[in-house]
Symmetry: D2
């Protein structure tokens, strides 16, 4: 995934930039970077953060960084920020998103012989450098950003640090957020609004889809108005957004309470306590427990001093180890109990199967599972948000293929929670996971729990809808 | 504070040792260390962990560490483990505790010209090296450990890695725990039982006060039986023990639920939601909310990816920054609400005052506080467990001195929650913190929530009792 | 300055690449880099070597580098190698030289909107990235290299690592050398031939001016023949080439002996011993001493364990410290002695003045100086070979300006060692340095000592000749 | 081997301490350390210097070190300085030497239960900590040092940093040097006098055997007068002392010139040039060449930027690699030439055989070898100065055993350069090395070249003399 943060100020911005970027640490596992302008000179640091926290890696650097404006990034793969020099001048750039047509775009650039790429790694062309070449095709930064947004398939929110201010540009369909914060003498841009209050910024403006603003210490200038074709990622509320953050004005933690409550409202299973699979399941579980007035408890505790991150490292073996190590069961809360858990979602289900097995080993009498979203049937193609490599690994998709003799027949029917096929799929997943009962949140309740219109939310993972702006909605 | 872990196995122990020690990361902020025996040779690594996690610092080292037995430590100040060579042979040692009479003991050793200290730092003599010299005065390891336990004022739990096994010795009064875990072909010793299940160990034996065992791969041999003069630190359950751990067979998380419930049982204030000040307040708050069936919520979220630790760094300015940064308010859950919070305790109250101020700024209508233990009146003298430098800084002590004209009159009366003086003290604290209401847990309920006899728990911080074994108890 | 090395082999090349590059450590002070191709993937490491040796910085990296072909560089300023992806494919590039028209070339590229630069630092555009953009303007690597050589003002020798072999291209006028070495199954390219014998390569071919070859494991293919307009830097033999190396087939150490001998042949001053100012003065001094059969001695020893480098760090204060610390006088060899020293050259003379002062303090009776080249009057404009920042700081230039009332009159006359003006200039330098006698090598003897025709050597620093190919030579 | 340095000053001593210690880098390969007293507190840093220079490892540390007195060490194995606290107070200690009876001494201490050792490593007890325990047996520092000197078999020069000044104590027989240097407001102690002049100290006093002084900023106080039983290591002049240093007032470089000249005086072989095997052979070769007026040349150059050290790393494979890489042949100076080389000594001869082979491969017509000392027959037992593991590996010893049918018969005769057995041994070594001629320096000429009485020099390696003070000398 990745996260980004920017500050322009009348004073030195490094303290705010450092902590503001740091508050995006849960969004990436590989690299972090900071760039500032000091006296018209750019200074940049990039570190591998796969084995250490962002803070510990940059603590030394920031003592020697100075400047009134700067941008920072937590990145999954590529090195960022890049410092680019072109006919537009010198600027630093960070991006969050996914460029699906990277190969086409670079082949096209080579064909026209208008560029080269030097930020190569074993991973190939750096997508952020590619975005920079698209920007460089414009006559102005605004032109260039529009060109990039037009030509990129996928999504790309970005920040450009220039000598005249910082351009903040949200991706064309607003799949990821950028929010402007304000305090006296300084303006910030952030992915997570949770980064703002402890630095004394207040939310000033949620950028709309495709909107471009130029940030200056005394405020923002709109350079391109937003479209109304919002397709923000629903998983921000379900899974990866930070609880204290809000997107489109809607708080994550509160949305999760509502989501859990909506599951609870349909439920009447008798259990002794309700727990959440940390971290994201917790909010849903609290909502569920409060609604039904069943005791909330923590039969699994997460060992945050050591496994603080939410996102999973890309290496499979390491991921398995982390999954095993970070949750510690509390035997006293499990023994002989009827337990109900909320989790954000079931992706492949392998990790969850291990968790459930350990609960039974610890003496659980019953284990009921309530995922906070419907079964995943499609793999995200708009964001770098891959919790599995192939669509076929998704528990929902895999199960329906089994039921359909190895074909992808009747996908729409399986996505409909009122259908028999859906019921069969869910029951088979339940059996495989040895669950006493399994009941997924349905899409309508999920959408209503969040509170945005269905057509403004990307729900592709569940119903394959590729953008339903202007379409007739059933809810 | 500090934590310790040990493994003796028929196979290589480094994986278990590394993760087992890592699960004590919440207990210390400064140093970590590991020592193993490989082919009769000792190998040791010590790192400063004040700016990075234990795991990231040792990840490289453990690739080159091998051996079937080893010990590890998370330490607040001193470098550990030490490798010591004496007439007893060569051994490695780690300790957890506090040696109050360190100066006397070293002066005595110098007077008798029986030793020197070489693990010097700017902090003076390394307490663990001092403990080793006391052990070296014995003819055997057991003798030596007994000598150390007799002569140390304070407390000292320790592990000795020798070629014949690992000695685990709990401090004389059992102020800190050591628990033996067991799996096929391996035996572990741990401070936190939470370190055991993910490494597949089961709790086999809780060491008693002063008990010494020799751990071998196939089991433990008792070398000194426990006394019955247990004085275990109550704060293990109230504040710093990990929720998934148990001491004396009593789980922390469950004890906190009971503690919160006992506060709730006396309470009838009307509020909209109940929250906990992370981390330790959470368990108490859940217990409270469940008891009164008031919605539990998280109006403050802790940013664990970056501020994962519970213990506070010793430097005051850094501590203030961390305190400010690690908790992020969730405005939607605060605005116009009547909030009740459980916290583990109120130490100085300065940090809490800031937290409360921010709640009102975010629009809270009422703020009620329910600390999970009585007012602190005495400063701990048995463990390296200092959350404040002087007794006079304790909110309770400071307030009663104000009420008593700057004297320490009537300490016992102030410690009695039924007295008028107690009520006056609490009310003054409430006013100073701008709380709508303030109600501390009382000592009797706290003791009953934990479930051990009053005489087995050290309650010095609250009632000044220096060890009441055999005394008449009122509850 | 900088140095470069390359290997293509049928086997893993990393060992040879690492040591071969390492043998260029004396040519740069700031950065080192290695790139290899392994299974069609490029792997690269770059380190700051200003505070540590190349070897210690890369020792860890090379354990994980694998590949049959690779390039390495010791660089003064910029990060290298770059890995570039363009319509030519992906390649790695290192360069040695100086691009004087970097600003014009980048402005031109921006005007045509054909590129951007991403390897920015506080130093601005990375010259090696600029060279890459010039190469990318071609339809083939050969085309592109020719384009770069045509358009660069200054000089640029380079190596391109591609999947089909390594292109080695010497700069247009052959100012810096590239030499091809050969052993069974492998071909190397090197700046210093001294890098070859210990890796078992033999010199196969000295690339001529502007020559381009493609190196493959079984030999080289000429892609562009050399011109005959050689202008190789004379200072390679006088000062910075490694003694064991040869350029154009002429060994450095032997050339220095001949150079010293030619000074000696004109000299009859009576002295007790002859010494060299380490490192480069040593060879000249040996030649002098052997010629006149006066004892050679080392009244100054260089402390190589700590100050191993020849090149001076760019920071002035550090340079002064290094200059002071690296030479240790041997009082027994100075006291009451008449000493004659050979040095490679006198640049500004400030450091030499300090050295001479210390000799007198140690009791020297007489100090005679014999620089191995004429007075420096012009500052090099073809290579990144700056031992002073401005032409006016050169001892020769400064002195003649004093004599000419602050003007640069009669430069040619001052460059003529037979003129009165030359004699006046030298005598004034002598006086300022408190030398008993001072006699510079003359240009004719220097040229003859090296053994190449005058027109093939760049002598700009001394006579301002900007390339005299085809001109009438006086010697 | 190892080296040491100390400063007491009225001002901050760190600059002098850092560079003074650094000038001992050629004496050790493994560890370096510094300790200072600042405001009565000790600060210490120790680093592994096996893969990087002392300077680069400590450059960061010294920015935060402050204090008016300090000690530094370059150490072969053990971590130093140690900071020790005993009845004598707190002090830091560094040692140079060899404790042969370390096991006996530690067993004795254990038996008396008077100590323990904590500075353990895989190498066992730290000899410097053992020396500290011997010092701690005294009632005063002087007492303690005398006790240590009495009881240590081997040798031990040491420095003690205390709050009242620095004790400098030369080993009982003066095998290694300690020299006091002086400048205004500061006093230094050094192993190498070469460390003094660039820091503006002048030699004030050469400590005699067993002498102890207390250094204070304004001068030294003698605490124990020297004995007259000097047994200083002859190899200081022959091999490992730095050329610019003097011991007992005798300069190394000048002694090597005299040594080479004495070989030359007996020699009449016709050769084209004389060279030295770097580094130590160089001085001897210059002396030889000057004496016979044969051209001195450098057919082998040492690549000092990368292989700056003289001492060899302990690992055999690494040593072979270094030996191969550090010397670069100059083919032009070898081809078709009759070459004579001086080397400091022939130890095992294996490395030399490789060097000679390469000379023939490069076209040498004749190779004559002149070692600067007699054949080595005994292995040093007084210093940590092992260039071979066993006596049997010494080229001289091995050859005489071959000639004596595997026995050590007639060692004295072989040590006599006038005997037939000596001649047979040398000829056999010559043949094995494919040398055109081989002529060792004889012991009498070596002793006279140095200029101390035979009985003051340790010549054990050559004649097995274990200390001949007061004996009748033949020369």
């Amino acid at each position: 995934m990745g996260g980004l943060f920017a500050v322009v100020s009348n004073e030195d911005c490094v303290h705010d930039l450092f902590y503001g970027t740091d508050y995006h640490s849960h969004l990436g596992t590989c690299r972090g970077g900071l760039a500032v302008i000091d006296d018209k000179e750019f200074h940049r640091h990039i570190h591998d953060i796969s084995n250490a926290q962002f803070r510990s890696k940059f603590e030394q650097d920031i003592r020697e960084m100075h400047g009134n404006s700067g941008i920072g990034v937590i990145s999954d793969n590529e090195s960022q920020p890049l410092i680019i020099c072109s006919h537009l001048g010198t600027y630093a750039i960070v991006t969050v998103g996914l460029v699906n047509n990277l190969d086409d775009l670079s082949r096209d650039a080579f064909r026209r012989r208008i560029t080269h790429f030097s930020e190569m790694s074993s991973l190939g062309i750096n997508p952020t450098e590619l975005v920079a070449t698209l920007i460089n095709e414009g006559s102005t930064f605004e032109d260039g950003i529009c060109n990039a947004q037009e030509r990129i398939e996928g999504s790309c929110s970005l920040l450009l640090l220039t000598k005249d201010g910082i351009y903040a540009a949200r991706d064309k369909y607003g799949r990821t957020p950028i929010v402007i914060g304000r305090k006296e003498n300084a303006v910030a841009a952030t992915f997570e609004t949770a980064a703002l209050p402890n630095l004394y910024y207040e939310v000033e403006h949620y950028l709309g889809p495709g909107e471009i603003v130029l940030m200056k210490p005394d405020g923002i200038e709109q350079r391109k108005p937003p479209s109304n074709e919002l397709q923000i990622c629903t998983f921000l509320w379900v899974y990866y957004g930070f609880p204290a953050s809000s997107y489109e004005g809607i708080n994550v933690e509160a949305a999760r309470y509502r989501c859990g409550a909506r599951i609870a409202a349909h439920d009447d299973v008798e259990v002794d306590m309700v727990g959440g699979i940390p971290d994201s399941g917790t909010g849903h579980a609290i909502g569920y427990a409060n609604c039904r007035k069943i005791p909330y408890a923590r039969p699994f505790t997460k060992y945050t001093p050591t496994w603080p991150r939410s996102f999973m490292p890309p290496d499979h073996e390491v991921r398995k180890l982390v999954a095993h190590m970070k949750l510690i069961p509390v035997p006293d809360l499990v023994q002989n109990k009827r337990l109900l858990f909320c989790d954000d979602s079931i992706v492949r289900g392998t990790q969850l199967a291990d968790t459930i097995r350990r609960l039974y080993e610890a003496g659980a009498r019953e284990v009921h599972m309530r995922p906070a979203c419907p079964p995943l049937i499609y793999k995200c193609k708009y964001l770098n948000f891959s919790r599995t490599k192939t669509e076929q690994d998704l528990a929902g998709r895999r199960t329906l293929r089994e039921l359909e003799g190895g074909t992808d027949n009747a996908l729409e029917e399986y996505a409909d929670h009122a259908s028999d096929k859906y019921a069969a799929m869910v029951d088979r997943i339940r059996q495989r996971l040895y669950l006493t009962s399994l009941r997924y949140q349905n899409l309508e309740d999920l959408v209503k729990a969040i509170g945005l219109p269905k057509e403004s939310l990307c729900t592709y993972c569940w119903d394959g809808c590729e953008g339903c702006y202007g379409k007739q909605m059933t809810f």
